[in-house]
């Protein structure tokens, strides 16, 4: 039993280390000026740009990522593991590499010769690229965990594939899908490196909250701190909401959550 002490100590150290920077942001905030600092147009513009691009990006992630994940989870084909690895690659890619890649692909002189750089659409693309794989990866696992006999039962009872997918598969996989989307949402909201390289930084257009924190860092550290605090709160609220949505369930298949999330 004596071994539990070092384990506990290590756990406490890990928790303290993770919590300290978050606590420090709020500890160093000058609460008196907070309202003033957060009401500047730089902050409100960044908040609007961040929320707008994150929401659009996550809708795209869900709309395109869900079918992609389902196909990869239910089909076995030659080269499947290669495809899955490719899908997962952006997760481990340094954001700067993602930025270079997006420029090489969608830049004016990139492969596709688009005029996307410096637009809000470029922010959305950067967010989709870095956050989408987090959702798809989790969604594949969630779909793989769905009991095939239930899917088969739905089909033999006469439900069409689409109906089976939305009424049986998605509810069963919901825990994993929600958890994946929560991660993707949070990662997308915090996206920085690919955005600043591919979309630039312009107030009201492409300057998201993380970019505003960086821009304010050397102009006014207190505004940067206030922005940081705001970003922590927005992220926390989103994360908690998504987790709650994923787990608050009246479903009879609740047992499925524990295996997939």
């Amino acid at each position: 039993m004596i071994r539990r002490v070092p384990v506990l100590a290590a756990a406490l150290a890990a928790l303290a280390f993770l919590a300290l920077p978050i606590v420090a942001i709020f500890a160093r905030l000058s609460w008196g000026n907070l309202a003033h600092e957060l009401s500047s147009s730089l902050v409100t513009d960044a908040l609007v740009v961040s929320l707008k691009t994150t929401v659009v990006a996550q809708v795209l992630v869900l709309v395109f990522g869900t079918p992609a994940a389902y196909v990869l989870a239910t089909h076995r084909f030659r080269g499947r593991s290669l495809v899955v690895t490719l899908v997962e690659l952006p997760i481990v890619l340094p954001p700067a590499v993602a930025g270079i890649g997006l420029l090489a692909a969608f830049g004016r002189f990139g492969l596709l010769h688009t005029s996307l750089p410096f637009t809000q659409a470029a922010v959305v693309l950067a967010v989709v690229f870095v956050s989408g794989p987090l959702y798809v990866r989790q969604a594949i696992a969630a779909f793989e965990a769905v009991d095939e006999t239930l899917v088969a039962a739905s089909r033999t009872l006469g439900a069409r594939p689409m109906k089976t997918f939305f009424r049986v598969v998605v509810p069963l996989a919901r825990g994993g899908l929600g958890a994946g989307e929560a991660l993707a949402f949070a990662r997308g909201l915090g996206e920085f490196g690919a955005t600043i390289m591919f979309a630039g930084s312009l107030q009201g257009v492409t300057q998201t909250l993380p970019l505003a924190v960086y821009a304010e860092f050397d102009v006014d550290f207190h505004t940067a701190l206030a922005l940081g605090g705001l970003l922590v709160l927005v992220s926390a609220v989103l994360l908690v909401t998504l987790k709650w949505l994923a787990s608050s369930s009246t479903s009879a298949f609740r047992f499925a959550l524990s295996t997939s999330s």
Binding site: G107, R108, F109, S201, L202, T206, A215, D218, V219
Partner: protein
């Protein structure tokens, strides 16, 4: 003083525009290049810099007044130019073409030295309206250079020395001397430096004949404006 600190390499925080030239003057130190304003903010928060070389004199002067570094000295000067990609997608042939609607102009942010020089020169030329065409406020001059050299931006304001580092990729449009802001680079030794002697020696090296010759070769201007007109 712990031996490890004495053996540690000299750490020089320097303006991004000095990226190519400082290692030519002295290859030994560890360099951290970036926007001078970012570097100054980091030094104020206790970053382990021994020397601060800024693209203006205001930032090192601020640190000096806060007791964070020695009195800065001017070690070189520079001029501002307008650069366009070799392909010139927006058809820009003079600074006045920047007024055309839809031009993608890339500049450095206000707090970055080159960003404030950019706004000064536009003000001097009564061209501040072109700032409506800005597509991005970059964090240092090399970001502007990269985005124009890549052809993503149609034009950008950088130092003439930056343009020289990407020959063949950009076309340089000179800006009139009468409109040029006073671009002076200041250098100082950070007070908390455990390598103060080595830091002083580095500053001396930059100010030395050999150091100045390297700066001139890279296109920088002599630290003191020649008194006699050529």
């Amino acid at each position: 003083m712990p031996a490890a600190l004495l053996l540690a390499k000299l750490t020089v925080y320097a303006a991004a525009s000095l990226t190519n030239v400082l290692p030519q003057i002295d290859a030994a130190p560890q360099y951290s290049f970036g926007g001078s304003n970012t570097l100054a903010a980091q030094i104020q928060l206790g970053a382990p810099a021994d020397v601060f070389a800024s693209a203006n004199t205001a930032l090192p002067l601020q640190l000096y007044q806060k007791g964070l570094c020695t009195q800065p000295v001017v070690f070189t000067r520079n001029t501002l130019v307008l650069i366009i990609p070799k392909s010139n997608p927006a058809g820009i042939h003079s600074v006045y073409d920047l007024q055309k609607p839809g031009v993608k102009l890339d500049v450095a942010a206000v707090g970055v030295p080159v960003g404030s020089y950019t706004r000064q020169i536009l003000k001097n030329m009564a061209l501040t309206s072109v700032l409506n065409n800005v597509v991005s406020n970059e964090t240092d001059v090399r970001e502007v250079l990269a985005k124009v050299a890549l052809g993503e931006a149609d034009a950008g304001f950088v130092y003439s020395t930056d343009a020289k580092t990407v020959p063949g990729q950009v076309t340089v449009l000179k800006l009139p001397a009468w409109a040029q802001p006073k671009v002076q680079y200041g250098i100082c030794v950070v007070k908390s430096s455990p390598n103060a002697a080595a830091a002083q020696a580095f500053v001396k090296k930059v100010l030395s004949k050999a150091g100045q010759a390297k700066l001139l070769a890279a296109g920088f201007l002599p630290r003191v404006k020649p008194k006699t007109a050529p």
